[in-house]
């Protein structure tokens, strides 16, 4: 098969193919009824191909947008879940709140813990707060003073604060703060159960 094609038609086709190669699928090869030859089918085929590419791109864009929206929604849900889990304040006895902390505590988390805990202490008129640090690996360098300030704030609300599960590293951090920062009214006990027994004994609940 031999077909003679005008150079202009070939140039036009190439321009459109080059545009498509850069991601522009909107151009189309102009079709002319008078060009009644086999090359017309090639030109039409390129147009069909471009149409498929444009449809595929639109579908892909739409799916990407849906995925992005879903990812954003999941991130929001995860953030809410993490926030809820990061300050699981439990009323273990009337007037006694326990807060088992897990993971690393930085300034932002310490501030969140303080806000949630003080609100619960005030709302429930708590007499005792047990902060269990068994699951705390490290406390960020500047965060310990903030936690101790929280302990003092709990004291100002009329509640006693007990620390349990202090690791050797955290103990050294508290000691390193020295007299001024370490002057919070804190009683330390080995385990959460020890603290609970201590509180219940104070309340006289174990009597009898």
């Amino acid at each position: 098969m031999s077909v003679t094609i005008e150079g202009e038609r070939v140039d036009q086709l190439l321009r459109i193919i080059v545009a498509a190669a850069t991601g522009d699928y909107e151009l189309r090869v102009p079709l002319v009824e008078e060009d009644d030859d086999e090359f017309l089918e090639v030109e039409l085929g390129v147009n069909y191909l471009l149409e498929e590419l444009a449809l595929g791109k639109a579908k892909s864009d739409s799916q990407r947008q849906q995925l992005e929206a879903r990812a954003e929604e999941l991130a929001h849900q995860q953030s809410e879940l993490v926030e809820a889990l990061s300050t699981p304040v439990i009323a273990v006895w009337p007037g006694v709140l326990a807060l088992p902390l897990v993971g690393r505590i930085d300034d932002e988390r310490a501030a969140r813990i303080t806000a949630v805990l003080l609100e619960r202490v005030a709302a429930e008129r708590a007499t005792h707060v047990i902060l269990d640090l068994t699951g705390v690996g490290t406390i960020a360098g500047n965060t310990m003073p903030g936690l101790l300030r929280m302990v003092r704030a709990i004291g100002l609300l009329g509640a006693s604060c007990l620390l349990t599960g202090i690791s050797p590293a955290v103990a050294q951090q508290i000691v390193a703060l020295g007299e001024v920062e370490g002057r919070a009214p804190v009683r330390a006990l080995a385990q959460l159960s020890d603290a609970l027994a201590h509180v219940l004994a104070q309340k006289g609940a174990l009597r009898g």
Partner: protein, 120 residues
Amino acid sequence: MPFFYEEATTPQGKPLLRLTAQGEVTLADAESLGARIEEGAPNHRWRILSIVEKGTEYSAGARKYFPSLQPKYGAIAVVVTSPIVRAAINMMMRLTGQAPNLHLFTTEAEGLAWLDGLEI
């Protein structure tokens, strides 16, 4: 609606579905033809004379659907005068692969003569 249907007969009196196409043919249009010629439908395995007018265009969905109709008609004689429309139908025929029961013609008389000569 770019498809116009008419039940008729060939010059030799065989049942014929005459189909005129014009404008933009969508997937819904193509499916309307499919509904008429599917198994159990009134025009299943009939001879079809399709007059495709100049300027007729086929949507991507219609182009992909048409090849699936191949076993549902007896034969189709497509009468087309526009080179662009002919190129479009040739493209769809390439998708179909072997389609001995589909032929292109430039006049109705040629198409009808071919349809009459077929044993279906």
